[in-house]
Symmetry: C2
Subunit: 596 residues, 2 copies
């Protein structure tokens, strides 16, 4: 078996950190108890371990290829996607009314992580389809929902997000694709979109492109962008497929990683105009796209965790098997498996602590999302929404940045073998590099964290989180064990560093934006590190209670050790970022532009 | 032009940090003044910018390939190697008596960096040949030197290092290749070596393999390993080539990076035994190999700097050209080149500060090497040797670890384009990953730093370095400028963290080796970070003096800004490592082995 889904750790995070019992009290989620979660995760694990994971290296060796406008996916992908769809996995979190399962994000997120750990390139197709479904649920008309969502949930059709153009990447105000209104209420689209994931493929009957474009005469900038449905095949009112639309894949990219996932250049309107249908109102496209993008950003964070988990498992297995050198303490007489060497354990623990910390953070964020959308009390919904929105850039930005570190350590543990492609560790390292770029680079996440999520409310949500962390510190003091007290020291120092930075950001975001934004990414890293470390501290407390109750001693002891490691080796990075942000902004602006 | 050699920065480091004027006072180096250095570097830059650099991406697209035991290198490599050899570059640092130029390492290191920045895969062939020459100079007989060194310096032949076997990577005590003594004084070798860089290729007439093997009846472990010359073609006493030897390349690896450099599996003795000649005495092979490896380790450090420089140049150029989004301070009305955005500048400055800091450290180390080998005073030689030996694991370990960060940032600056292979940024990222692995992983460097270089002398050399750093702090205080005083605060804090860690390491290396070695890599990172930052502080002082003297104001101002950035953003990482090392060792050992 090349991959084993970390079901136990996921259930621990749901039960003890995300309080799945409270999620199951939300209207509509009555069935979503721990037993359900366990059953769903086990079934998800089975499919992904047996069917999807074995195709991961295949996809790297034999990526999707382009031929005369068609894209042929890696052998086996089509069949695996059928199995995925028939299992109902595409609809897991979507409404029952459209054929979905209606499960909370708290459970759905774990399934998304498992799928991505099994095969990131494969998982991108359902991930983008989820985004398209989400956008139509939010902004589509009833007729559009009925026409397009059920076939996507069934996996007969898939969805895409069409934002980027050669001149418009992070800056969507530069989008030039144009939409000309037609007498029948539809539009004709003309333009070129690049970096379209699964923009063309052979795994489904139809592809629902969601496309940003500018209606003739619309204002300049982001306020003139609208969102359109442009199906690959036009859809008749009864849902059957009509004519081929005027959108074509003219090439796919040759990439560093996620090679099995076709990254397409799509040409719209070369033969008279691609027929599109407006979603919601004109000129509100970016707003709708952001809803879709927020879901996608959270999911990309899960991809970081997924790759980290996969890299950790591979490295740990190699470290148990590879025999080299005598341990420094002489605990083994001759050459020993390298897991006996302190630095190998330090590397593995770094990988594991970062992975579990990010997973804990993401699981807690998912529960906040569920409460924000389903809690009967408006104020509770509002608070959870604010908490979730603060966490999205951390889940996306921090989990993916650390996935570079984790997958790099994964190669490193393998030594020279890690550099050989057939070993497989290098694939995770290559795949991980896209995660800090797509769906908004880390800097874009950091701008969001600093501008919209911190400065806009004067740091209120950030400080509320700091207060919650301080409450956990009090619990650690109350626990009183050596591990808890050691974690307390690190958590307190990191939380204080965070508060100092929040104060700096609130003070400078408007008055000296260069100073504030010079530290935006370090702020994101500090905040993500802290929130993940805070969840590890809560995990330690929960594991100690479970241990005292006699539950699963080996697992709980490992959790305590990992939490302690996170505090001593990961939380300790926070002070350095604080120093750079608060005292180092002048250095970022000092050098003349022409001197670079 | 895809690459421009950083000649000015190299000359600055030689002149102001490594004191080339003092190197030029050493016997034998009288010609090695700044004018010579400048002339050599400019000629080196020309060849590498025009001939070698353009082949870098070609080599990635069309790697070396294997066919029936032969390796065909990337088109153009053979001709470029001829030009390199005919320019006398292979002999740059080697003795005049064997056809070399006899230049000091202080100048030679800069040329090595330039060659590696131009084309890492190509540069590996001369790099390994340098190692083979070095080993023969140290341990070869006069006859061996006369027979093998001149053709290698002329570039007619190349050299290799044969250490690794499938079961013997970091742990050379497990070497099994065996050597059977023959009546004529030669040996017959039998065994398999893997990961042999340029173990077979078509760029030279002959290949001089230096091979670790065990003479029949030799002791177990590292004390029974001997070093042999095994030429691809046997060499007649007059230097002409004789019969093909029984060593064959049975395959080459499919790798993450450095694809143009063939990584060979060599089979010795399948047809009766490969004829080999003992170098030096039996059972002292590891000792000789270490001499060769120390030179190679230093050179691998230069490779890290080289890739970092190349990645920086590419990213800075893209950042000046790519237009996206309005700057946060409104300094440009519409979308601006992304270099206007604070986070892009933070990324570029991180890349640049790390690169220049590591280059400064390596240049100073080279000058110490020159003094250690050429100074008339024995005590000065001894001190310089100790200083150099302390720095080798830092140059190797730190410069290569940060090359991962720098090349990753290089991709990140390019956004989505960075992930497309044709952009070229991804190649540096892939190539960099080997650097922390070959010639001893970072953990192996860290063991060397901790065991041989710190604990063995009770921290004497480490503390002497700390004293020198404190002297630089006094100079910063004396300078009194805002930049100098800001750097002083960071340097002092980092130096104190280092001293604390050295105290911890000396106290624990023997009594609690697991605690000490759990922090070995963080110690290496802290020490490397500090020594590079110290050199940047010295660079700041020198630049301020030069600026006051009216020299090259734009360059000097940029150097001051970069040094300040290093202090505020890079030196500030040191405290975190200190905390992990001193307070976090228990966490490394706490988790049960079976829980990973």
């Amino acid at each position: 078996m090349t991959f084993k889904a970390p079901v136990k750790d996921m259930l621990f995070a749901m039960q003890h950190l995300a309080r799945l019992d409270q999620v199951a009290q939300l209207p509509g989620f009555e069935e979503a108890n721990l037993e359900t979660a366990q059953a769903v995760l086990q079934e998800c694990a089975r499919l992904n371990e047996e069917v999807v994971a074995p195709l991961n290296w295949e996809g790297d060796k034999q990526p999707s290829w382009w031929q005369d406008g068609n894209v042929i996916t890696t052998p086996g992908f089509k069949e695996a996607f059928r199995e995925y769809a028939e299992g109902g996995w595409q609809g897991l979190q979507h409404p029952v009314t459209f054929g979905g399962q209606g499960l909370p994000k708290t459970i759905g997120a774990a399934c998304t992580e498992i799928l991505n750990a099994a095969n990131l390139s494969f998982a991108l197709c359902p991930l983008l389809t989820d985004g398209a479904i989400e956008a139509l649920l939010t902004a589509g008309s009833e007729a559009q929902k009925r026409l397009y969502i059920p076939p996507m949930i069934e996996g007969r059709w898939t969805g895409t997000m069409n934002l980027t153009e050669p001149q418009a990447g992070s800056d969507l105000s530069l989008v030039r694709t144009r939409a000309e209104p037609q007498p029948d209420g539809s539009y004709k689209l003309f333009g070129t979109k690049i970096f379209i994931t699964y923009g063309e493929h052979d795994m489904a009957e139809n592809i629902v492109h969601l496309v940003l474009a500018r209606v003739t005469g619309a204002p300049e900038g982001v306020k003139g962008i609208s969102l359109f449905i442009v199906p690959k095949f036009l859809v008749n009112p009864d849902g059957s497929l009509g004519a081929r639309n005027d959108v074509r894949c003219v090439s796919i990219e040759h990439k560093l990683g996620i090679k099995a996932s076709p990254t397409c250049v799509l040409q719209y309107g070369d033969q008279g105009g691609a027929i599109g249908y407006l979603v919601g109102e004109e000129n509100r496209g970016l707003e709708y796209m952001f809803i879709m993008m927020n879901a996608a950003r959270y999911a990309v964070g899960l991809q970081g965790i997924a790759l980290s988990e996969r890299a950790y498992q591979k490295a740990a297995q190699y470290a148990r098997e590879r025999v080299q050198s005598r341990p420094v303490d002489g605990s083994v007489a001759g050459a020993a498996p390298i897991i006996h060497h302190p630095d190998v354990r330090r590397m593995l623990l770094t990988m594991r602590a970062l992975t579990e910390g990010c997973r804990a953070m993401a699981t807690v964020a998912a529960a906040a999302y569920d409460a924000a959308h389903h809690h009967p009390d408006a104020e509770t919904r509002r608070q959870n929404q604010a908490f979730y929105e603060f966490l999205v850039p951390l889940v996306k930005g921090y989990s993916t940045e650390v996935s570079h570190e984790v997958t790099s350590l994964g190669v490193q543990v393998h030594g020279g073998m890690g550099f050989i492609e057939e070993t497989g560790a290098a694939q995770y390292y290559r795949d991980a590099k896209i995660l800090t770029i797509y769906e908004g680079t880390t800097a874009i996440q950091a701008n969001d964290l600093l501008g919209r999520k911190t400065a806009r409310d004067g740091g209120a949500v950030a400080r509320a989180i700091a207060q919650q962390i301080a409450a956990t510190e009090a619990e650690l003091a109350g626990d009183g064990s050596a591990d808890a007290l050691a974690v307390l020291v690190r958590l307190q120092a990191a939380r204080q560093a965070f508060e100092e930075v929040v104060g700096f950001m609130v003070a400078h975001a408007k008055s000296d934006p260069v100073a504030a934004y010079a530290g935006s990414v370090p702020y994101l890293m500090l905040a993500g590190n802290l929130v993940a470390g805070w969840q590890m501290a809560r995990a330690l407390l929960a594991a100690r209670r479970a241990l005292a109750a006699g539950e699963d001693a080996a697992f709980m002891r490992a959790k305590i050790a990992t939490a302690r490691f996170y505090a001593d080796h990961i939380l300790t990075r926070c002070a350095g970022w604080r120093d750079s942000i608060v005292g180092g902004h002048a250095a970022v602006a000092a050098m003349a532009l022409e001197a670079y």
